[in-house]
């Protein structure tokens, strides 16, 4: 049975666009041994048919049945991690062996301010309403927890 473990440095789960993602891939029990490809990918989730895309691939040729590999990705400028009403966009890192099933993906967030963009359905509002809402959101983000 194939076993993969994907870890990011310091367990970091959120990244700004353009930031470097450092991490470690560990594997064991790969039979038959072959190459592995690490992928940084996004996919959509929600009402619509799923779309997906691979931003970056890192090949690990001749990986052997067990081993580890330190990887580095550059978080793309877009698309941001996003949560809306009909649609969400999620980022992840997965290992795909030459033979066998891909690993469970490690889900991460890529977005400005190390957070996903959330939008909720909007009623008609004026520009001044929008500015007020943005200020409210920023103030809530600045409040200490609890």
């Amino acid at each position: 049975m194939n076993g993969f473990e994907i870890l990011t440095q310091d367990g970091k789960a959120a990244f700004e666009p353009g930031e470097t993602i450092h991490g470690l891939l560990r594997w064991e029990g790969i039979t038959p041994p072959g190459s592995i490809e690490l992928r940084l990918f996004w996919h959509t989730r929600g009402k619509g048919t799923e779309d997906s895309g691979v931003a970056e691939r890192v090949p690990i040729p001749g990986a052997g049945p067990a081993g580890e590999y330190r990887f580095r990705f550059c978080a793309p400028s877009a698309p941001y991690s996003y949560e809306g009403k009909l649609l969400s966009i999620l980022w992840g890192i997965e290992a795909v062996p030459e033979h066998g099933e891909p690993s469970e993906p490690l889900m991460i967030i890529i977005g400005p301010g190390w957070s996903k963009v959330r939008m909720r359905p909007g009623k008609e509002r004026s520009m001044s309403n929008l500015v007020d809402e943005i200020f409210e959101e920023e103030n809530r983000a600045d409040e200490p927890p609890g």
């Binding site: 959509t44 929600g46 619509g48 895309g53 691979v54 931003a55 809306g84 649609l87 520009m127 500015v131």
Partner: protein, 366 residues
Amino acid sequence: MGTAFLFMVFIRPAIQTMAARDWVEVPCRIESADVKTHSGSDGSTYSIEVRYIYEYGGKVYTGDCYAFHSMSSSSRGWRDKAVARLRSSPKSVCFVNPADPAEAVLDRGLSSDIGFGLIPLVFILVGICCMVAGVRALIAKKEPVVPLSPGGATASGQAAWVPGPDKALHGPLTVDTGGRALKRFIGLSMVTLIWNGFVAFMAVMLARGDGPPWFFIGLFGLVGLGLFVALVYSTLALANPSARITLSQNPVPLGTNLRVAWQFSGNARRFDHLAIRLTCEEVTSYRRGTNTITERATMLDVVAMETRAAWEMGSGEAAVAIPAHAMHSFKAGNNAIEWKIVLHGSIPRWPDVREEIVLQVAPLER
């Protein structure tokens, strides 16, 4: 195939009918007249088989053409009446082509079956529209509007479209909306004309006792009425002022101000209210059986400018703040986030002016 059918069943008989106006009327004797049945997998069709003798220029000829439109169809009623009339009076008249006396016809008018020739016109128009759309799509693929950011490709190979950072392609965008109303009007006119023409033809058939059931015609007629109402609305909209809209830049990054300038040609004083809105929609598609369903959700709808002052409506400029905390434009195979600038001018007791421009919102500038 549709074009060939249109030519054989409508265009050619119509041309022959017009040409036969100069043909010579000559007495003839009906030798035989019958309705022939053609059995097929979809049912029976009927045609008139006739034989008559006439004399022209001292020579005797035999004719077998009843009318220019000689295809068989499922309409039997008028054919039975025509054959009964021919049998009841064997001495009749035919029309002879003076240039070729061997060519003659008993009825040089248009029969009701010629209406069937118009049916493929709808499909020909649809086919032409699809071909034009396909060619335009091919041209658009070869002319990239904005560069792709390193967002990668979808599993199906289609690029995920996200406005890129290449400043060289950023710049003002000007859109003239004048032609849009005319295109809508022309398209709608053609569809309405063909659809209602077909409904009228079926109604005539029904009146002659040969048509489809009345409720079938009624359903088609309701659709035709709706099309007609839409056509009237579209006709009135032709008289509306048309706008030239300029965006200060496109794509525009999140968190920046966009300037939207408008200039109306025509009488903009007819508006009692003018608004510019910034909208953001999620668009998702999925299949349900053989149908593709598309759903939209409005995530942002902001009035950037609105006025009721007549002197401000003819032309002007407004600043539209693109929120920094929102999602940029996104487009993949089945999912998209679309931003639009919407110009909406209300005219009392008249179709409104509503023009939309798709705005490409790029990620935050770094």
